[in-house]
């Protein structure tokens, strides 16, 4: 079954990635597609800022502007930030807990392809009669009135990619629950693993309401149902609730893994154990718990009544407490450490004041009466960009630099990294800080232009210049990536020199079976402990060298996801009289999906074994060959 394949052709290389169930390769797929959508979303952002550069600009029409802001938000949240974080979770979490793969390698691949086809479907709207234009929150009162199929692309695309995310969440949870190496107790798990765990739990419980809301939206628009149709007895507020019951935990799904990445960075580059590890863990869990009880603060002005507003205002203020605990723990981790200001560390240090600024404006908005004033103004835009960009995106950029060597075996240039950082960081504050004041001056959110007499010209101009800075930063990062991969200077196990957790104890990139022998974990910061005790191998083993069981690759996940993609087109044109083939397409698509599901369950797939001899041979070659298959 297993043989040593050496040189592979290009076709075989592509086929390998299409059929892979290896969490490290899936991580790379997530990184590439998430990165691509990040660029798309960034392009949309640039167009927004060009349009708002001066008063009365006509770069974009009002309708196109609506489509672009909708797609900017949707793309950035669902197709860029989440997949990029899933990329790091996939790449690092199994290594951190000493596992050979995730619990369900097949489902891991399925999750990726569902996300991928959902994202493609959503973006095809640009070429097929117009993108969604009701904002990323897609409020039903607007969405039902929207012409064309834009909204349908939104609801069907997000349904498909939402299934993918749910699958990924379950997969990570089971991996962490069942597949930790011997000795890796819950309270010895690295913080990134912990945040992956809690974020996955949030995915598990938050995505179903979104899926149901999206289904209602699909039914209403494409199958003539009446959930949100007021004259038929429907209620549009139901959408808002379902959306935000998902939407608020979603914020934490995004920020918690970023917190995890920063926690790793602070410890590594301060060369200190994380201060208050236990407090950090419990703060993470508390944030996850409270995350479900604050959603209505997005709906203060809906008119829920004073009691509901008061309850949700209070809950929202409380959630700032565990976040504050984290900030202090990070500061105290740096305190007295032997700090090295590498690119990841500089991102982490910059993250603290940026995120705190976003957090403080968040607490301001938690006061319902004040929120009535701030609501729907640029103040809100500034606030959530401060938390999302200042928290999540800085986390993703930091993580890219930190984990690049582990994922690809090469180091991104520190020099170019610094240039990226300064452009991005200055550009970010330039863009969004001033938007607080634009909001206070009364500039409403989601307007496609403004008048010259309103006095918003200068600030908007500054904001647009800032966006340009960010764009330059991202471009430099791209150059950095290309140069690094062209130079292809290989690095060893622990390229930063101060790695603390298990992933730094194995080659970069790791062999596809990760650990020839399952490690034995003797405490928090496993690898650090072994290093300090002079253990040259970097870990102690829980088992003698023996045969390793690995899963087989499969093309079925791709086909299954493709079936959903096809079915979505059928649903899209279901009511369209000029397209009588729609029902057939819907049935064929679902047929492909369920058919391949049946094939998968009827066919035995027991995986294969790598023999002990092959492992020894592989170790002789440096243990990081990708060719064993």
């Amino acid at each position: 079954m297993s043989s040593l394949a050496q040189k592979k052709g290009f076709g075989a290389f592509i086929w390998d990635y299409l059929t892979t169930v290896d969490h490290k390769k899936i991580a790379i797929l997530y990184l590439i597609s998430g990165g691509f959508f990040f660029l798309v979303g960034g392009l949309e952002a640039m167009m927004i800022r060009i349009q708002l550069m001066k008063a009365g600009n006509d770069f974009l029409s009002a309708g196109l502007y609506n489509e672009i802001i909708t797609m900017h938000g949707t793309t950035m949240i669902f197709l860029a930030a989440m997949p990029l974080l899933l990329a790091f979770m996939n790449a690092v979490m199994p290594l951190q807990i000493g596992a050979r793969d995730v619990a369900f390698p097949f489902l891991n691949s399925l999750g990726f392809w569902l996300f991928f086809f959902g994202g493609i479907f959503l973006n095809l709207s640009w070429f097929m009669g117009g993108a969604p234009d009701a904002g990323w929150t897609n409020y039903a009162s607007l969405a039902l009135a929207s012409e064309g199929h834009g909204i349908d692309f939104y609801s069907l695309g997000l349904t498909i990619s939402g299934f993918g995310t749910l699958i990924a969440g379950i997969n990570f949870l089971v991996t962490i629950i069942n597949m930790r190496a011997p000795g890796m107790t819950y309270m010895r798990m690295p913080l990134f693993t912990w945040t992956t765990f809690v974020a996955s739990a949030l995915i598990l419980l938050a995505f179903p309401p979104l899926t149901i809301g999206l289904f209602f939206m699909v039914f209403d628009r494409l199958f003539d149902a009446n959930f949100f149709v007021v004259e038929m007895g429907g209620n549009t507020i139901i959408w808002e609730h379902l959306f935000w019951i998902f939407g608020h935990p979603e914020v934490y799904i995004l920020i918690l893994p970023a917190f995890g990445i920063f926690s790793e960075i602070f410890a590594i580059f301060s060369r200190k154990r994380l201060f208050g590890y236990t407090a950090l863990v419990f703060a993470t869990i508390l944030i996850g718990f409270y995350g479900f009880m604050v959603w209505a603060h997005h709906m203060f002005t809906v008119g829920l009544g004073p009691t509901a507003n008061a309850v949700f205002a209070l809950a929202t203020m409380i959630i700032a407490v565990p976040t504050g605990i984290k900030i202090f723990n990070w500061l105290l981790t740096i305190w007295g450490g032997s700090i090295s200001f590498t690119v990841p560390m500089i991102y982490a240090v910059a993250f603290i004041p940026s995120f705190v600024a976003g957090g403080v404006t968040g607490v301001m908005q938690a006061m319902a009466p004040l929120d009535y004033q701030l609501h729907d103004s640029y103040f809100i835009v500034a606030h959530f960009h401060y938390v999302i960009v200042g928290g999540v995106v800085l986390g993703i950029l930091a993580g890219t630099h930190l984990y690049w060597p582990k994922m690809f075996g090469t180091m991104l240039s520190e020099k170019l990294g610094m240039i990226t950082f300064w452009f991005f960081f200055i550009g970010f504050h330039l863009t969004f800080f001033i938007q607080h004041f634009l909001g206070l001056m009364g500039m409403p959110r989601r307007v496609y232009t403004f008048g010259a007499d309103q006095g918003w010209d200068l600030f908007n101009m500054i904001s647009s210049v800032g966006a340009l800075f960010m764009a330059i930063g991202v471009l430099v990062l791209l150059v950095n990536v290309v140069l690094t991969q062209v130079k292809n200077v290989r690095v060893g196990n622990d390229p930063w020199g101060d790695g603390r957790t298990l992933e730094w104890a194995i080659p970069s990139p790791p062999p596809f079976y990760n650990f020839a022998q399952t490690p034995l974990v003797r405490g928090l910061d496993t690898y650090w402990i072994e290093k300090m005790e002079g253990n040259k191998e970097g870990m102690v083993y829980a088992e003698p060298l023996g045969d390793v069981h690995m899963p087989n690759g499969s093309i079925i996940p791709l086909i299954m996801s493709f079936g959903m993609f096809v079915a979505a087109f059928g649903a899209l044109y279901f009511l369209d009289d000029t397209k009588p083939w729609a029902l057939a397409v819907l049935i064929i698509g679902l047929g492909i999906t369920f058919g391949s599901m049946l094939v998968r369950s009827l066919k035995d797939d027991l995986g294969f074994h790598i023999t002990k001899e092959e492992l020894i041979e592989d170790a002789k070659r440096g243990g990081n060959t990708d060719g064993l298959k």
């Binding site: 619990a103 419980l205 039914f219 009827l602």
Partner: protein, 208 residues
Amino acid sequence: MDLNKRYTAQSWPDHPETATLEGKNKFVGFWLLLAAETVTFASLFATYLALKDRGPDASEFTAAGLFELPLVFAMTMILLTSSLTSVYAMHHMKNHNFKAMQAWLGITVLLGLTFLGLEIYEFNHYVHLGFGFTTSAFSSAFFTLVGTHGAHVLFGLSWFIALMVRNSKRGLNMYNAPKFYLAALYWHFIDVVWVFIFTVVYLMGVIG
């Protein structure tokens, strides 16, 4: 894992469903899925409750006027019984009695099919009364909630049938034991949802 390995009742492990790592993973993963399903159905129930009896001004259809209990009672009894028969099937699975397990699963499937038939009859009946999916907000919410449950029943039945047919020749092994176990768990969960449907939708519907 060796598929050809033969087990006897005496060498069959206590908990075959979680005896292998794959089994354990499936077991935990499936329960997590059920937790997600709980929230899914909660969203559907919540929407149903919010939209109950709401329709256009001229709408004549209300829960109190529409639902009839005898049919629902029969459906409830059938589904409850099928939950018990799948417990019997799992009892025999643990005793490594493949034939008895298949037989009880067969009964479960028959009961499930009957349930599904009655549900289709019920829906058809409502549609003929003029209460279709697109009639009102109430009708959309009702058909979506109960229909989603029905879709779960259909999926559960297909799952049982696929497992029974696929494994009819080779009997129980460590590879398929977790699959049977999870299918049975799924079936119980469907029953749990139905308990709330008959209480919240039908019983509370009839009393208005």
